[in-house]
C-alpha cells in the first residue's frame, strides 16, 4: 500500500528532522571567513559598548518571546551589552542581506559591529553568555 509507505517515510523524516532540530536549535555558531559588519545605522539603534545582541523577530514566531526574555536577562547581567530586537518584516532588506531564514535569529556583534556568532532558534542563556565571552575576548586582535 502506497499510503502506508508514505506514512512510514513521513514519520521517519519527522523524527529525524525533529531530533536534528532539537540539537541545533539556538546553538551559536562561529561566523567564519569574511565577517559581515552591521552598523548602528542599519539597526536604527546604537551598538553596545562591548557587544550587541541583535534579535530578528516576527509576529508569527512562537519562541521569539522566550528569546527576548533570555537576551534581556543576559543584557542586564553583563555591562556594555545591548539587546536590539528587529521586526524582520519591516526590515526585509537586512533580512536578505544577512540571509536570515528563521525567527528568532540572534546575531552577536562585537564592539565594531562585526558578526562574530549567530544562532537560529531559541538560545539557552548559558550559550548566549558563552558567545558574548567569546566575542569580547576576541576583540583586540580585530583589524
Amino acid at each position: 500500500m502506497a499510503g502506508w509507505a508514505v506514512l512510514c517515510v513521513t514519520l521517519a523524516v519527522g523524527v529525524a528532522a525533529g531530533v536534528i532540530m532539537r540539537r541545533r536549535d539556538g546553538v551559536a555558531r562561529d561566523v567564519r571567513g569574511d565577517m559581515d559588519t552591521v552598523a548602528a545605522g542599519d539597526l536604527g539603534a546604537e551598538l553596545g559598548e562591548r557587544a550587541t545582541l541583535v534579535q530578528f523577530s516576527t509576529a508569527f514566531c512562537q519562541p521569539c518571546r522566550a528569546t527576548r526574555r533570555v537576551l534581556a536577562e543576559v543584557t542586564a547581567m553583563v555591562d556594555g551589552v545591548r539587546h536590539i530586537e528587529i521586526d524582520a518584516e519591516s526590515r526585509l532588506d537586512l533580512v536578505r542581506r544577512l540571509d536570515v531564514m528563521r525567527t528568532p535569529t540572534v546575531l552577536v556583534l562585537d564592539s565594531g559591529g562585526r558578526i562574530v556568532k549567530r544562532a537560529s532558534g531559541h538560545p539557552r542563556k548559558a550559550d548566549v553568555i558563552a558567545a558574548l565571552g567569546f566575542t569580547v575576548s576576541h576583540e583586540p586582535d580585530a583589524t
Binding site: 508514505v6 519527522g14 528532522a17 525533529g18 528563521r102
Partner: protein
Amino acid sequence: MQVDPRGMRFAAAATTLVLALVLVTGNGWLLLAQAAVFALGAAGASPYALAFKRWVRPRLGPPAATEDSRPPRFAQGVGLVFALVGLIGFLAQAAPLALGATAAALLAAFLNAAFGFCLGCEMYLIIRRLLPATR
C-alpha cells in the same frame, strides 16, 4: 489573543492522527474534513482546541504559560493550503499529488505534536522574503 500551548499540541496530535488515516485509507472525504478544521483553526476556532478546552483542560488545570495565538493560526492557514492541494489531487485522481500534499501537512503536524516545532510558523519569514518588499 492568548492560547494554551498544550491545546495546540493536542490539536497537532489530533491532526497527525487524522492525516495518517487519510494516507492509510486514501479517503478524500476525511481530508476534506481536516481542511475544514484547518479553516476553522485559522479563524481561531479550531474544533480540536475546543475539544481540549472542554474535556482535557479541566483535568489538567490551568496552563503555566499562554502563547500568542497568531503563530498557530497562521500555521493552520498553511495547513489549509496543503490540504486543499491534496484535495485537488484526490479529485483529479493524481495519487502522488494527493499523498504528497497530505504527507507535507502530516509532517508539519507531527513536528508540532512531537517536538513543539511549528513548521507552518517557520514558513512565514520565508514566504515574506520571497514576496517583493511592500515598504
